[in-house]
């Protein structure tokens, strides 16, 4: 009987063969899926580890939660590279009392719930002795109590005034970058005393950094008895502000203050140049970084901005940091790389002073330690801020000219 004439019946040997083949195929597929699942869980669970030169003791784990995606995505790379530069320098010179730092980095996507997952992991799984970040104020607001409950110091580059100690009452939260309230006061002082403006207009973004900054600006203008003539709002991601800039122009403002993130700042300046709003434009520190000038292009020429790092500062500590960063990463640094660089050195000094990696002892040491870094003398004040250094600078098309340095 030829094969093509054979009729399959139950119990036929060929049917059994087919059954076995199908079972093996399914089992193989199942094993592959399990392997992939296990692999992806372990990859997801890893984070990025920057292993230092092994010291004679157990490495001291520190976690960095930074925004590589989301609203603050421009900043994550700077945070990590600044921190890692410091970690590598410290480890190369013998570490902290013989133990090296092990920096683990996670992307918090500028999101509070993602940051919460990271902080819990840093505390329970990574057993970090300190946490750097999150860098975005909204994320810090959502997670700083976790650090307090776990008694693990949290050093952040987030600058909203709502994170000051008198508001959070969090003994374990410290700021390594100048507070928005300080920067805002200097901005208003410059606008009133140098630019002699009397009819300011503000364009403001919608997230907590922007709205908190606006509240500070309003208070600061009140102290000078100056009324803000017009405030226009935009949302993160808005790409057309024709109506807003038209209204600002119609209001007759004599200075435009930008309280937005970098891409929104670029959108504003492009529209300002298009509509020929020829008043001085001054932005909060998000306007003083490369992402803003890259996106705004020639529209950024003449813009004044607050900055927390200016590469042209002749201070030897600043130049040493700029040279070291450029040599290691091949690009010049930007805010907040200097903040996290200083922060890691600050932590090193605190651990040495405490003589321990216990969170409570490090926290006590942080409250009294002094360190002179890229941002000058850093010492914890009553608001748990370590620094009040900032610059007011003007973009000339290529670099930022320093108009004044505070303090």
């Amino acid at each position: 009987m030829s094969t093509c004439n054979r009729i399959l019946k139950p119990g036929d040997y060929i049917q059994k063969e087919v059954f076995v083949a199908r079972f093996c195929r399914k089992a193989f597929v199942g094993l592959v899926i399990l392997a992939l699942l296990g692999g992806s869980i372990s990859i997801w669970g890893c984070g990025k580890t920057g292993s230092s030169t092994p010291g004679s003791s157990t490495p001291i784990k520190i976690v960095l939660s930074a925004p590589f995606t989301g609203t603050g995505s421009a900043l994550g790379e700077w945070c990590e590279k600044g921190a890692r530069l410091a970690v590598d320098e410290i480890n190369a010179s013998g570490g902290v009392k013989g133990a090296s730092f092990d920096l683990i980095t996670y992307d918090d996507a500028s999101d509070a719930s993602t940051a919460a997952t990271i902080i819990r992991r840093a505390i329970s799984s990574d057993k970090a002795v300190a946490i750097f970040g999150p860098n975005m104020s909204g994320a810090v607001l959502g997670v700083n109590t976790l650090a307090q409950q776990a008694k693990v110091p949290m050093l952040v580059g987030a600058t909203a005034t709502s994170l000051r100690y008198d508001k959070t009452k969090n003994d374990y939260l410290f700021r390594i970058k100048t507070d928005d309230g300080v920067k805002g006061a200097e901005l208003v002082k410059y606008v009133v005393e140098v630019l002699k403006a009397k009819k300011p207009g503000i364009i403001v973004g919608s997230d907590s950094y922007c709205t908190s900054g606006l509240a500070d600006l309003k208070q600061d203008f009140d102290t000078y008895g100056i009324k803000i003539v017009d405030i226009e709002n935009m949302k993160e991601g808005d790409k057309d502000v024709t109506a807003q800039v038209t209204k600002l122009k119609k209001a007759g403002i004599d200075v435009l203050i930008g309280m937005t993130h970098e891409p929104e700042g670029a959108v504003v300046m492009l529209k300002v140049r298009e509509l020929k709003l020829t008043v001085p434009c001054i932005g909060e520190s998000a306007w003083g970084v490369p992402m803003f000038t890259d996106l705004a292009g020639d529209a950024a020429i003449g813009v004044i901005s607050l900055q927390v790092l200016n590469l042209a500062d002749p201070d030897p500590r600043v130049q040493k940091f700029v040279d070291a960063y450029t040599a290691k990463w091949g690009t010049e640094p930007s805010d907040p790389a200097n903040c996290y660089y200083d922060g890691v050195y600050l932590l090193k000094k605190a651990i040495e002073m405490a003589g321990s990696t216990d969170g409570v002892k490090i926290d006590e040491a942080l409250k009294t330690v002094e360190y002179t870094g890229v941002q000058g003398l850093m010492k914890c004040d009553a608001l748990h801020n370590f620094t009040n250094t900032c610059y007011i600078s003007q973009f000339n098309g290529k670099t930022w000219d320093i108009l004044s340095k505070i303090p």
Binding site: K239, P263, R273
Partner: protein, 297 residues
């Protein structure tokens, strides 16, 4: 309100709105072809913009080659969408819901993939349509040169679409298939070919829309997420999901409503007002403001 301010806002609204309309066209073409909504429609815009950026700004290929390569890849992507997503779902008995879920996941996949490859930082679009700071001044009204270029390209595209759909045999076949697939098949039209063409056209038009939007939106993840995709859908709905030109007009309407909401009412409520008006239009004219047929017709 000074006339120049009104004109400025009209120009801004029309320029951005026309590109919303292009995004909406991708929805319309696919709906007409397979009666499915592709929730990854806007991803084509983002992919095309990043492709062009890669070829032109990073690999320094000539403009024309970069443009043709980007459009060709996005057209092939449309074909892959049909054969790797739509057809397998159909083959396994899946329907509208399964296609919606699959395209929602696809949209998330593309956002993650672009983030992984390029990072989340927006990049400036190369000044191929004119410098961002060069303007054409007509009296007291200044128009960025980019707007002229973008609007000119949209006009050319609309004219090309009109010629394709109404003056060519392929266009006739596409329209016939969109009207009634079974009858078109009986008439000897290769429905398989027209379906593939519809998929490719959908992603290509949206991809071109993405490249045109990139000077305004920057080369960023915003092109593949957020309100812009929703505004594309809204344009398609306002056009009745039938008429491509109605979709463009729908998009322009949305652009104008946005700008005038911000100008006359408040910039805070710009999106709220635009979408409230959209909902009112949908309730009043559910078949689109340019479709005067009723359910009984």
């Amino acid at each position: 309100m000074v006339l120049s301010n009104l004109l400025q806002n009209i120009i801004g609204g029309v320029s951005v709105g026309a590109t919303y309309g292009l995004i909406g066209l991708g929805v319309v073409f696919l709906w007409q072809s397979i009666e499915r909504i592709n929730f990854a429609n806007i991803s084509s815009a983002m992919i095309a913009a990043y492709l062009f950026y890669t070829f032109y700004a990073q690999l320094h290929l000539p403009f024309f080659i970069s443009l043709v390569a980007s459009i060709a890849i996005i057209a092939v992507y449309g074909l892959l969408l049909r054969y790797l997503l739509f057809e397998p779902i159909n083959h396994h008995g899946g329907g509208e819901l399964e296609f919606v879920v699959a395209t929602v996941m696809l949209s998330t996949f593309w956002l993650s993939a672009i983030k992984a490859f390029y990072g989340g930082v927006p990049r400036p679009f190369p000044p191929v349509f004119g410098e961002a700071t060069s303007f054409v001044r007509i009296g007291s009204v200044s128009i960025p040169f980019v707007y002229f270029s973008v609007f000119f390209v949209v006009l050319v595209l609309i004219c090309a679409l009109y010629l394709l759909l109404w003056k060519t045999m392929i266009g006739k076949m596409l329209r016939a298939t969109a009207q009634n697939k079974e009858t078109a098949s009986l008439m000897g039209i290769n429905v398989n070919m027209t379906t593939s063409l519809a998929f490719m056209l959908a992603t290509t038009i949206v991809g071109i829309g993405g490249i045109l939007l990139a000077p305004t939106y920057f080369v960023s993840l915003d092109l593949g997420a957020g309100p812009i995709g929703v505004k594309g859908f809204a344009s398609a709905i306002m056009g009745g999901m039938i008429n491509p030109f109605g979709t463009i007009v729908g998009g322009i309407t949305i652009g104008l409503v946005e700008n005038f909401s911000a100008l006359f009412i408040s910039s805070v409520y710009k999106d709220v007002i635009s979408f409230v008006i959209l909902v009112v239009v949908i309730i009043w004219k559910p078949r689109g403001i340019f479709n005067w047929t009723t359910k009984e017709d």
